[in-house]
Symmetry: C2
Subunit: 348 residues, 2 copies
């Protein structure tokens, strides 16, 4: 966050900082109150608790989420993906600044499972979105790091709750699209936006399988200068391709539009499109239903992940797993029999 | 199976039947030997063991699979899906009879999670594939029944091993495409075929999301009479749409072809296509790699399913789950905290 923003927000509740310096331990209720007042430093501290690997921090993080839940949910959550080079940073910066100019408060989070390796390959460098980082109505947080996509995703999903409690009403989740990260981001957002460039011909090449089907909108970026014509052609090609897919459960027909984040054209149209989507799906109650389903999905997903985690750290399982996998791969033992053997081992 | 087929196969090892009648218990080694000799009655009995809900049968079934594993794997496994009315039965019958005329032995299995409800909505009625059921080189087995898709899928996957051990070198797995059944069939076959009809315009309408991306070939059936022109147009539309997708890990470009199962035209081309696929992917070793990956997938999948099953039958979990799901859906409690609470309950 920018120094300006900190300054502005610190002024909201100066007592909080005094209290915190006196007490060495963190009072989650006070932190929740500060977050609800829009205090960016408190928000960052809260997210740090969530992201911590220290158990006592995690426990406080969970208390904080519980305290913030009643204030969450009043936002539109937008997932944005696109291959490197498509101009995601520039788009998010231009889009974010447009939104704040319209009175919105914008939080930008990221799901990047490679961040622990690359020390933040996206959003790590705030100079990437310099003007948005300076914008007092915007909050940018780099991707949590973690060994597993599941872990990174959980932290991001919990950070959404804190950002919403802090009054951010547009939450943007960026993903680089490594592994299953798009699918996981899709399961935590209301609207999924695929950013594309106009190419030479095969417009859908280079996109991972399944992404097109997840998109609620395809936005063709860099529709400027000599690219304008190609972008228009790409728009037509995508619109035709999307038309071939079966209808979505939302009954929303995915839209294709062009923009130039650099020249700040077409940005308003993207927001109009998302507003149309939320209006339509709120009328049909699909919006709320989808969020409820996503919450349930995360409950069941968390249970499954924790069950698996417990199994795969079992020492007896660890000592045998590779050999068993190899035998199964070679067809020397049936997968079902091997599974039974490993499960028996784990329960011994 | 037809009476003729039984008769022919009984003659292979008449001693087996005498032995079996004397002994009340089943000797799995003898059963495996009979299966390896192509004995259809032994094969059916083996599959019945696998499908049984009686623990002692299941144990014998697992022994049988172990005994058959070394003889399995020498086949091409073809998944076939398509909406009701597309002519799956007629296609499989014509295709199967063509294959046996070329010297192949064809087994037809099914994954139909609704079979326990409808008492076999597909393949239950052998009159559906009357001539194939009479064909001594073909073996048709209705879908296993079961409460869960996972259970039905496991049984089918184990039946594949027995069929291969019995010398069937083309295994066809039919699915009606209920729920996730296509995905599960896709994970047990080498080649995935989507059967379609020529429609009025939006050719991909009515297909579940993701199916197109799984298909190695789209075959437009009923390309006969007044439909011929529409089928050709559909072929062009699909070919264009498929071209828009990114390349598959197999490096195989999905093909589109037309046929008339009723008039027996275009059937040879379908087989040629599949043969091209197996030749190409065997040269690149993708064929073997994919099977090894599928085996590992099934090992991990089975472990996960069994871990989940154990959790969700836990009485304490059962007594709380609905209330917790409802709270989570409403956003009253965070999915992660709820998951921890349920896991704690299960371990108490």
């Amino acid at each position: 966050m920018s120094k300006d923003a900190t300054h502005i927000n610190k002024s909201i509740n100066p007592a909080f900082y005094k209290t915190r310096k006196r007490q060495k331990t963190i009072n989650t209720q006070e932190l929740a109150t500060a977050i609800a007042q829009g205090d960016i430093t408190a928000l960052s501290q809260g997210i740090t608790l969530i992201e911590s690997t220290v158990q006592s921090h995690q426990d406080k993080g969970q208390q904080l989420i519980e305290a913030c839940l009643s204030k969450a949910n009043k936002s539109v959550r937008i997932g944005i993906t696109g291959v490197p080079g498509v101009g995601k940073s520039t788009f998010i910066e231009t889009f974010g600044n447009y939104l704040t100019s319209q009175g919105h408060k914008v939080a930008v989070l990221a799901v990047d499972p490679t961040s622990s390796v690359s020390h933040g390959s996206i959003l790590g460098d705030k100079t990437r979105m310099y003007t948005l980082a300076q914008n007092p109505k915007a909050y940018i947080r780099p991707s949590a790091s973690g060994k597993s996509l599941g872990g990174v995703a959980r932290k991001t999903r919990e950070a959404i709750i804190l950002c919403e409690a802090a009054g951010y009403n547009v939450i943007i989740i960026e993903t680089v699209g490594v592994g299953q990260s798009e699918t996981i981001v899709h399961s935590m957002v209301d609207f999924f936006l695929l950013l594309k460039l106009a190419g030479a011909g095969d417009e859908l090449q280079g996109i991972k399988r399944g992404i097109i089907e997840m998109a609620d909108a395809i936005v063709i970026n860099k529709a400027d200068g000599g690219n304008t014509k190609a972008a228009k052609l790409a728009k037509t090609a995508f619109a035709k391709a999307l038309h071939l897919f079966p209808p979505k459960p939302s009954n929303w027909t995915p839209k294709v539009t062009t923009c130039s984040a650099l020249e700040n054209t077409g940005i308003e149209e993207v927001w109009k499109l998302i507003s149309d989507y939320t209006a339509t799906t709120k009328t049909s109650t699909y919006f709320e239903t989808k969020r409820a389903e996503q919450n349930k999905f995360w409950l069941l997903q968390t249970i499954e992940n924790k069950l698996k985690d417990a199994f795969y750290v079992n020492e007896k399982v660890v000592s045998k797993l590779d050999a068993v996998l190899s035998k199964v791969a070679q067809g020397e033992v049936s997968p079902f029999i091997a599974a039974q053997q490993l499960l028996k081992l784990a329960n011994e």
